[in-house]
């Protein structure tokens, strides 16, 4: 049961990721990306990493995707804006070949890699729960956690500065 669920979620994720890359319409790309994030959250739940699954849905499917959709609607990009250029086909083929070669090399290397497996004696299935991760975040990782808030403040100020209209600029 769980095994077939794993394969189903894997194929759904890969299908949606291919949809992101090959959709002509940017809005469809965003919708496929949302599907990718939800199926990845399913993977996290299968791994009993409930905190990561919840944060993935809240941050990615909730915040980041709304931002993407909002920008696409705002810029009126919901048509295919990529004009066919003469070098376009060559670039596409070269990109696909180099990406495919990287995949072949990675799989050939990882096929024989010693990654080990789980340890049945010392296994702890509770590590992905909110209680354990919250304890870790506020003790061992307290400084990076607080620095992340400074990072968000800087990102917010930067986005407001970049998005502000300037008087010399062309408006739309």
């Amino acid at each position: 049961m769980t095994g077939s669920l794993f394969y189903f979620l894997t194929f759904l994720t890969l299908f949606a990721a291919l949809g992101v890359v090959f959709s002509k319409n940017p809005v469809y790309s965003v919708l496929f990306l949302i599907l990718t994030f939800f199926s990845l959250s399913g993977h996290y739940i299968l791994l009993n990493a409930q905190f990561v699954a919840a944060v993935n849905i809240i941050v990615y499917a909730g915040a980041i995707m709304v931002l993407f959709l909002f920008v696409i609607m705002f810029l009126n990009l919901n048509m295919d804006t990529e004009q066919a250029q003469k070098k376009s086909v060559l670039t596409k083929v070269a990109g696909a070949i180099s990406g495919g070669l990287l995949l072949v090399i990675m799989i050939a290397v990882l096929k024989d890699a010693e990654v080990g497996s789980y340890d049945p004696e010392n296994f702890d299935s509770q590590i992905g729960l909110v209680e354990n991760l919250g304890h870790l975040l506020f003790t061992k990782y307290l400084l990076p956690f607080e620095l992340a808030s400074v990072l968000f403040l800087v990102a917010m100020v930067g986005a407001v500065m970049l998005g502000k209209k300037e008087t010399q600029q062309r408006h739309f």
Binding site: S29, F51, V71, L75, S98, L110, S125, F172
Partner: protein, 109 residues
Amino acid sequence: MNEIPEVIRTIPLQYYLFFSSTLFVIGIIGVLTRRNAIIIFMCIELMLNAVNLLLTAFSAYRSDANGQVFVFFIMAVAAAEVCVGLAIIVMIYRNLRSTDINILSNLKW
């Protein structure tokens, strides 16, 4: 209470390696072939998510919570990056009326 999840018992860790590599390569192909800046951004998110999945899988198989804390920080940095990056894309669109990266070749020699 402390029973091992079924997916960890039945699925080898290498399948997660193959799956994450494939997802990462799909993101790379998207960055290399698409010309729309917003789609390139989405493909970067795909690559970040492939890494997140691999970190979570290793963390769950090894019962080591540090990996999942790192996933949390990667998500935080990705959110900040998307916020600034989309602001830059909006500014590019304001100046050039397009988000095609082939137009942005002023620094090319």
